[in-house]
């Protein structure tokens, strides 16, 4: 297995190529905008899940034949104006929007945190994000429930399975009008829900949602920070783990890889 943690950001054709993994044929693109922060973490998560990750540059017009795309966390364009508002206009976003809309074999896209915000700004997902009700940035280990284990990004979990993954953001309060919320609930598009306390005031404790086709998913907490024992949260929904040993987020990445290979 070749491991490369590039010291520099920006587009790298192939960031990791998992020679030993049966899933290494699946190529997941990870988009870097100016101000993206968790892009290299998302690349690492894909690699640890057995896939191959490709760095995609926001200004590019080419998706480099990737099989799925992750829009990572961070503060793209500083989160100035509104989180995700400026990134949404990146040339690559046009490609992603086009590829993600459409029929059964539309491109799977996962937006994590800032990525989720970009997807709502781009109207690939409904609703929007406003400031946490505490008005503070919050970093904490958060318990979630998988409400829909049928999406590209959740199929490795059991329905109603719980996870503990880090949450960290300033503008994480999910809002939408009641009709939209009812629609999301009715169509099984609430993919993740906060449990054990709503950290930011999100409507109906919603932590993650999908589009109608289920290929586009947005999630506020960070699964890519719970994929490697020793560097994750202190706990896991599966019970006790070692210090910073939680890896509950890995299933997100193996889900899409297995779906795409099988």
């Amino acid at each position: 297995m070749t491991v490369e943690t590039p010291l520099i950001g920006g587009p790298q054709p192939v960031a990791s190529n998992n020679e030993d993994s049966p899933l290494n044929g699946v190529k997941i693109g990870v988009v870097t905008f100016p101000g993206s922060l968790d892009d290299r973490d998302a690349v690492r998560a894909v690699r640890l899940a057995g896939g191959s990750a490709i760095h995609l540059w926001h200004g590019d017009h080419d998706l480099h034949d990737v099989d799925a795309v992750i829009i990572p966390g961070g503060f793209s364009y500083g989160d100035y104006l509104r989180a995700g508002a400026i990134s949404r206009f990146a040339p690559l976003m046009e490609q992603i929007t086009a590829a993600a809309s459409g029929g059964a074999d539309a491109l799977p896209v996962l937006g994590i945190c800032n990525g989720f915000q970009v997807l709502t700004e781009a109207h690939l997902l409904p609703g929007s994000m406003i400031k946490n009700n505490s008005l503070h940035f919050i970093c904490r280990d958060q318990r979630l429930r998988v409400e829909n284990a049928g999406t590209f990004w959740t199929s490795e979990y059991a329905q109603d399975e719980e996870l503990v993954i880090p949450l960290k953001n300033q503008d994480g309060q999910f809002v939408a009008d009641n009709r939209t919320l009812d629609e999301l609930e009715g169509e099984g598009r609430v993919v993740f829900r906060y449990v054990d306390g709503n950290p930011n005031g999100s409507r109906r404790d919603i932590a993650g949602i999908s589009n109608i086709a289920g290929n586009v998913v947005g999630l506020m907490p960070h699964p890519e920070h719970a994929v490697e024992a020793g560097f994750g949260p202190d706990s896991s929904a599966r019970g006790e783990v070692g210090v910073r040993g939680g890896t509950d987020g890995l299933g997100i990445f193996t889900s899409v890889l297995k779906k795409l290979v099988g």
Partner: protein, 86 residues
């Protein structure tokens, strides 16, 4: 240089956590005359030259696409302001 002002406010039905926090803080500093507070944004776009109808149209377009998110916000004003007016 002439400026175009764009005002953006949170939609009335959307909770405004910042406005709420301010409303809570006002009585604590002895200001009890207010029933509620909402916090929005004000943008000032400087125009290099005259404000042609076309530039004003650009400002309107910016207001609804970039400067506001229609899911949570309303554009409440797009207007040219005079040099000495605020």
């Amino acid at each position: 240089m002439p400026r175009i002002v764009v005002d953006v406010m949170p939609k009335p039905e959307i909770l405004d956590p910042q406005g709420k926090a301010i409303a809570g803080a006002l009585p604590r500093i002895g200001l009890t005359g207010f029933a509620g507070v909402r916090q929005g944004k004000r943008f000032e776009l400087t125009v290099d030259g005259d404000v042609t109808p076309e530039v004003l149209e650009q400002a309107r377009h910016a207001a609804t696409t970039l400067l506001s998110n229609p899911v949570i916000e309303d554009v409440t004003r797009v207007e040219v302001i005079e040099e000495d007016e605020q």
